[in-house]
Symmetry: C7
Subunit: 81 residues, 7 copies
């Protein structure tokens, strides 16, 4: 058994997956139950993010929000589309 | 694949988007469900923020609050208008 | 675009707004839904605060509390009156 | 405008208010809705506290608890009596 | 006014109260509403604790649990019996 | 009694169990009650994770999500299948 | 009164109790109300844990889960059986 976290098996890093999806469409699920779908144009090491052309869905109600800055600690899952 | 977070793709940083919106109108959604709309006049690295001429909406009730200082950990999304 | 957070646009800092309101009346909204209105006589870098002559409102019930020390992580918004 | 947090206006520190109330009666409101009233005999920098001769009130039910050690992160407000 | 937290007034420290109660019976109230009563046999600086001969009460149902290790961040109050 | 956490008994480390399951199917239970089942292709020291070919189950509703990046602080349990 | 946390009274440390229970059966109560019972095969300093041959109980429903990796911050109590 390899004790080194990056040894042996090739291991993808979550922040690298975000980077690979810059300028692509992602769907975010937030802690408050909202989902946001938009183009990921930036993020930082806390997983704070920037979406452009964002569409929010909340209880089946859809709303266009444009640019959205998100605090990372409110994001549950990020799904590249 | 570029392993460097700032390499390859030009990457916007969430705090820079805030800076670009200083003295502009933003809409904040808070963890307690309130939304605040006002002029962003300041923020710090914890995303604590200052809004001026703020209007609060809570369960469809609107209230004028003037200046508001917000703790960053209660802010879910920031939408420049 | 200026990459320096304090460059370009004059930027107010949230803690400075608090300082400017020392010995003035502020209204605090807490995570548990209470609002407190009183004279801000002190705070620290965690936004722990001291109010004097404080009036608490909870579900439309008003109560006089006098001096109140608050833990910063329970404060959502601070509104100078 | 003074940029120095302790400059200009005399500023009380929340922990100093606690110290001034050692061996005095305080009322604490906790995150779980309970209130505790007792003599504050100690605290530390995390606002962990010790109360003596404590009386707990929960949904209008009162209970005598004697000595209570409290974790600071569960305390919302501290009111010296 | 003494600015030094340990100056002037003799000040008990919460962790010292715990130490004084090692091998004695304590009642803990947890964030999830359970109460645990047992002999405190150990703790660390995060207020993680060990109880022996523990009795759990939850919605008036009592259960004997024996030894219990507790994460400090789930403990609200500690009452020495 | 051995005071050294890695002494005496051979001790598996949680992050090593994750590493051993890279490119294998895992089932995650999230704080919001959703379960996600997919191939674990990466993780970091905060237990942020990447799943591929993910299937989400929420209140008995199943949805295919493909790639999902997860914030570690929303994950409760990880079950290798 | 001894001011030294490890002085005077012999003091057990919570992580040592965990170590003493490696390869033994433990029952965990989680923040989401589930209980897990299984063989503790590993843990780290954040109280992240590994259980083998785990049985989950949720609202009186029992399910066999096999190996489970748990995030420490979701664990409320650990009871060695």
């Amino acid at each position: 058994m390899d004790n080194n976290l990056t040894g042996g098996v090739p291991l993808a890093m979550p922040l690298n997956v975000l980077e690979r999806n810059v300028n692509k469409i992602v769907m975010l699920t937030l802690k408050d139950g909202r989902t946001l779908e938009g183009k990921l144009t930036g993020f930082d090491e806390y997983m704070n993010m920037i979406l452009e052309d964002t569409e929010e869905t909340k209880d089946d109600q859809v709303r266009r929000l444009g640019t959205v800055v998100l605090r990372g600690n409110n994001i549950v899952t990020i799904v590249p589309k």
